[in-house]
Amino acid sequence: MTNQLTGAISVMDSKHSPMPGELAPSTHHRGPVAPLAERHGSWSRGAAWAAWAVAVCLTFAGCGQPEVEFGLNRLIVPPVNLVVQSREAQLVDQNRPAGEIAEELATLKETYLHNEQMLASALTAVFGTPDDPYAWPGLGLDIKKLRMAAGPTGVRGVTRGLYREHCVHCHGINGDGLGPTARFLNPYPRNFQLGVFKFTSTNQGRKPTTEDLERTLREGIPGTAMPSFRLQSPAEIEALVEYVKYLSMRGEVQNQLMTAIEAVGGPIDENQLAEELQVALDLVARSWNEAEDYIVVPAQRPPFRSEQERLASIARGKEIFLNAGKANCIGCHGPTGLGDGGQVDYDVWTKLQREQEARYPGLAQLWPLPVRPAEPRNLHQGIYRGGRRPVDLYRRIYAGIKGTPMPAQGQTLKPDEIWSVVDYVMSLPYEHEQASPAPPSVHRAGL
């Protein structure tokens, strides 16, 4: 916040305000606040007011446009005071001499602050800043697309700032899902920083394909606050998808690098940092690059030849659904598919939050979204967040829903068994209609 304010003032102070279309410098210019008041007396009143007017306009127009920075993921890299407190409690419990404790904590603090800054430096080296993104060779990101999505909005004649125009208020500047509107939404906006996406065409543990993410942008996610961005041009959607990947990769590299830095122990030097960074980048790049190799392609089956055949498939699907010894759908979704299996579980984003908040009690203030359990879906609503084509449901069952308690059943069920479960699940919203009409999609349109 202070950055945004001083940023606004520094634009007024600086000798050259950025021209429209000009990229903001990547080195941060933090204008001091105090000199304004001092200088005030020497200025003519009119000039002072004009300057204020400019500042006001800038602030209101851009909501902190002049200087925006990425931050560290505080769930992964807690602030130093919390880390020190946690260790102090342990040492005090061990009845260590006060002098020894003070010494260890001082070293810990110094080391942690050093490592934190090395981490921030590595992330800036690889990803640049929100105004000036960098496409690290080897990650396969397209700088042209990133530039369209990054940066401030509202520059005439240039397409940029798409992320801040369309996404940032929910997903946050870091892609952590902590935008200002996040707390009012249910479900919360996705935190991209774990690199996990729920609705994909790929197998368990694999990244989404580019097409998967584009599809989510085009279609939106029904039943959530995520709208369709179909009105954007294909090029704009591509740019935004590239930026989502970029933010995810930044989050993943951050997680891996933090683990590596902590595992190395002691203050990390530049050589070690470069080495660990390379390992993290290779792993992250590989996982994204090979996503297309893991698309789940369901076995096709012929359309039903009769209504009896369709009803038989639904009946078989129901049987599988209720079988606790096999896929155990009933365990979470309940005997009637209302999502009332009585399960209380959490998705991976929330699990991380719960664990870290338990470990560092002060962390809750920095992560302002109250914990919510992952609720098994009520299958009677006819709302399918990951898409309503039969192939979408097939993939949800085959590969599970990543990051959530919904597991992959691709090895417990045969393809025709999965299709029957799809038929059963898609019949549930119509269960009480006497004739049980075929939902329009049951003919596998769009497969």
């Binding site: 606004a8 002072a48 931050g71 505080r74 430096s121 992330l123 155990n328 990543k402």
Partner: protein, 298 residues
């Protein structure tokens, strides 16, 4: 003069506006160091990304030896509360499922303490050549994971089994390998493979039965062990004649990354680490290493 006070008001308004539209977390950490940023980019462009961090000490290794030891709990052993069995009660309820996050034996030995080698690129004894190709089994049995902590070499396939009459799923959250969440039907066997060593043990869970928890340790060298119910561990055929550094991890370890502190007559464990040099054809017995209660999270 009216001007300053008016300006103050504007200033307050500006501040409110700026606060209102920012991101919610206020502490975002330090700024990047420009010279480190430049150096890292330059290295990458020069194609010499990875620096050589400390050459391997393994050249001096001569022969092989054994390391053993025992971890004991330095206090009144904590009770193991029964876990609340909320699903498939007819079957799972028959087994008294106890909390396994901290298991202390009758003699004070701490079970499921993991010891693994930190020293990089160790020489590996030939006796491991076959062993690291044999599959290991992670069984869903009696509505718990057996073993509770599984050690896996990156060459080993993991067979996930379900010996129970109820359907399970085994969900493992890795950092470097693709995570999985695999449904496993009754009496079924599903094979998974991890290609990359994990820095830390990865948590395993069953989403159908939320009380089930376990851990999978994935390393690309065979020098790792997990303590038995008496707190004992042994690692055979480690490189002798060189100083080796080991990491001690426990799932409730209160230290950084699950590390524990311990004191012993042969060595202490400081923030999860100890160093040892094993003589050729010899053995180092670390004897009892006492882990104080504060080493574990409550």
């Amino acid at each position: 003069m009216r001007c300053p006070s008016l300006m103050l008001v504007t200033c307050a308004a500006l501040l409110t506006t700026a606060v209102g539209c920012g991101d919610s977390s206020s502490d975002r950490g330090p700024r990047a160091k420009p010279e480190v940023v430049q150096n890292l980019r330059a290295r990458n462009q020069a194609g010499s990304a990875a620096g050589q961090s400390g050459g391997s000490s393994m050249d001096q290794a001569d022969g092989w030896g054994t390391i053993r030891g025992r971890f004991v709990y330095g206090g009144q052993p904590p009770a193991r509360p029964p876990l609340s069995v909320t699903k498939d009660v007819q079957f799972c309820g028959q087994h008294r499922v106890l909390d396994e996050s901290l298991v202390v034996g009758p003699d004070g030995g701490v079970k499921n303490v993991v010891v693994f080698l930190r020293t990089r690129d160790p020489k590996v004894h030939e006796s491991y050549a076959e062993k690291i190709k044999q599959p290991v089994v992670f069984d869903n049995r009696d509505c718990r994971f057996e073993p509770h902590v599984l050690l896996v070499h990156t060459s080993q396939p993991v067979e996930i089994l379900n010996s129970d009459p109820v359907g399970h799923n085994t969900s493992v959250q890795f950092q470097r390998n693709p995570s999985f969440s695999q449904g496993v039907a009754s009496n079924q066997r599903v094979v998974q493979k991890m290609d990359v060593a994990e820095t830390l043990p990865a948590p395993a869970a069953c989403n159908v039965h939320p009380w089930m928890g376990g851990w999978i340790v994935v390393k690309d060298n065979p020098y790792m062990a997990v303590t038995d119910e008496n707190g004992n561990f042994v690692i055979e055929n480690v490189p002798a004649g060189v100083e080796l550094e080991f990491q001690v991890w426990h799932e409730r370890g209160a230290g950084n990354q699950g590390s524990v502190d311990g004191t012993g007559s042969v060595t202490n464990v400081d923030r999860g680490r100890f160093k040892v040099t094993v003589p050729k054809d010899g053995e180092v017995d670390l004897k009892d290493i006492t882990l104080p209660p504060s080493s574990f999270r409550s």
